[in-house]
Amino acid sequence: MKRILLLPLFILMCKLVVAQTYIIGVQAPITGSFASEGQGINNAIQLLVAQTNAAGGINGDTFKVVTCDDQGNPQNAVICAKTLVDAGAKVVIGSYSSTATEASQAIYAKAGVIQTSDATANNLIVHAYPTYFRNSFNDNIEGNFTADYFVNIKKYKRIVILGDFSAFSTGLSASVINNIKALKGNIVYTGKITSGDNDFRAILTKIKALNPDVIYYSGYFIEGALLRSQEVSLGIKADFVGGNSNDNPQFLKIAGSKAKGSYLIGLPLPQQLDSQQAQQFVADYAKKYNSPIPSIWTITNADGLLTVFAAMKAIKTNDPILVAKYIHGSIRNMPCLTGYMTINNQGEREGNIYQVSQIQSNLKYKVVYH
């Protein structure tokens, strides 16, 4: 009988947790394979909120962060979304991956909670939820930029496209391939590797026989760096170009001296952001957490929250529906950590801050095209 009594007790306990302050939710992969990114996002949001509270809050509200670990998978994303809605979150930052974001979108939209994420999959905007906006740029913008660079600038004749099996990489590959085809570029090989594997010499040896000008990789930095270093040690002469998720200091460490000469297409690295505000944020983060910001995605998410704060200040209310309405269309060229924020009516971030950087012999990035 005791067991039966426990259940309502649990329910009561959960009801009590509802807090009094304005709650900002973070839905991010705190554990699992994207753990470093998720923890970075959480840290950055905690830092921003602490700073905002220290400055007296906004419109009389102080903020509190509630974090939920979605492990990057959609099932947990749904639970997280419900948890955060029930915890009274009015704004949610997240999630990191497109899959988890897509799974949670409908729940936040239904509950009238503002959601912003760095996920780049094109289809996140399909439903045009009035509360969702993107704080990074979608795949198509990057695909277009990459294809233009390959076909028109570098004039590559034999292009190899590689990706992994993640939703992100698949989407980006598809977008790059479509854009290259539209520009009549010549793709000689498309293939996939499994993330988590370390040995890609088999596929590289095959590629070697095709004698390509360039190998483009749309997946993440670990495999990217391994591909690059194994490419060099197999004596393949083709250029290596990595998509935006290769933007990570780890790329240089893993590939070591073999990294030099390779290109990266993506947003600027946290350290490359030139605004005073951005440098200050990078320094504050390093000071508080004693480790560098894991990637640019941490900062675009911080931008997402800053956009919400800016909107609150602009319309002098913290009501999520009104704030969301303002963000869709009224945020134009707002200075932020990653440059300027423009959100269109669909919630898509407009503009383009993509750049191509080449790794120099001193293992520093040099922007060669933007």
Partner: protein, 315 residues
């Protein structure tokens, strides 16, 4: 004893019916997930605990059911009920086709083959064959048609669907011990040489218990799709299969209460400790070790007996 037991069961029924009207959204969703995973774990238990087949790829059949349901509804606009039946039946057929050539493999060799099949399955749905599975993204925002004016996608509706399904499964499993089939797989699992020597057919029963297990997993997959409105490959990977395997052992092989309790421990407790994110899995792993050391036969080891008490009293 008898009276106590009926009081317990009646209050359990009342509680489970009343629960969705008292609980908030998160708990409703967590408990619904728990019901679904309990049913799934029971279907794994039929294969692993009851029939003693070391299958470590059960998430695959869960996935087959979930994808079948999602594809039929999303791409082909099939009637909800037909799609539901189809997800179980297709899962059953695939289970049957798969086990047939490997039914002679024993123990760990079977385990590896089932793991391998699970990896193959994930690879296939990731590659988006015929544009059906949506690749690594999976299938999202499935629009379920309403059935006879009833919206089955509300949290409460799904809760009751899961509850009814689990109840049916519990009834099924409870009566299994008293049936010819249940007894046959018990003998075979316990000592297949002795069982064969009294004329119990090993391969038929192995095929049957495996494919029935996969069919039930297929149905469960459909309910899962109904709850989340989305399917994607991660939910059906080998990590999930390993977890399901562990649930049965942690709960107690072949034990109805044990497996349900095991699902609670493995799927619901982690939700409660979600805020301890980084330490969660560490503690969880340690708990698994401690639990096994303290209770090597699981939380509630199965008590098997296949003659009902009233039969025994008759004579």
């Amino acid at each position: 004893m008898q009276v106590n037991k009926s009081i317990f069961i009646i209050s359990l029924i009342i509680c489970s019916i009343g629960f969705p009207f008292l609980a908030n959204n998160i708990w409703l969703s967590i408990i619904t997930t728990f019901l679904i995973y309990s049913a799934l774990s029971l279907s794994q238990d039929l294969i692993l605990g009851k029939a003693g087949i070391y299958a470590m790829g059960h998430a695959m059949f869960f996935g087959i059911g979930a994808y079948t349901f999602a594809i039929l509804i999303n791409t082909y606009n099939v009637n909800l009920f037909i799609a539901f039946m189809a997800s179980g039946i297709i899962s059953y057929c695939i289970g049957l086709i798969i086990i047939y050539p490997i039914k002679h493999l024993r123990g760990d060799y079977f385990l590896v083959v089932s793991l391998g099949l699970n990896i193959i399955f994930i690879n296939i749905i990731n590659n988006d064959p015929f544009g059906l599975t949506g690749g690594p993204n999976g299938i999202f925002a499935i629009n379920f048609p309403s059935v006879g004016g009833l919206d089955l996608t509300g949290a409460k509706a799904i809760y009751f669907i899961a509850l009814i399904f689990l109840s049916v499964m519990i009834l099924l499993f409870y009566r299994l011990n008293y049936s010819k089939f249940g007894r046959a797989i018990y003998y075979l699992n316990h000592d297949h040489i002795a069982a064969k020597s009294v004329g119990i057919k090993p391969s038929l029963n192995k095929l049957l218990s495996f494919s029935l297990g996969t069919m039930l997993a297929g149905f469960t997959g459909a309910i899962y799709t109904l709850q989340y409105g989305a399917v994607s490959p991660e939910a059906f990977g080998i990590e999930q299969s390993i977890l399901l395997f562990a649930v049965v052992i942690v709960g107690g092989q072949g034990s109805l209460i044990g497996v349900v309790a095991g699902s609670f421990v493995m799927f619901v407790l982690p939700e409660i400790f979600r805020s301890y994110a980084e330490y969660r899995l560490l503690v969880f792993g340690a708990a698994m070790v401690i639990l096994m050391v303290i209770r090597p036969n699981g939380l509630f080891p199965s008590k098997f007996g296949f003659f009902q008490k009233r039969h025994l009293q008759q004579k």
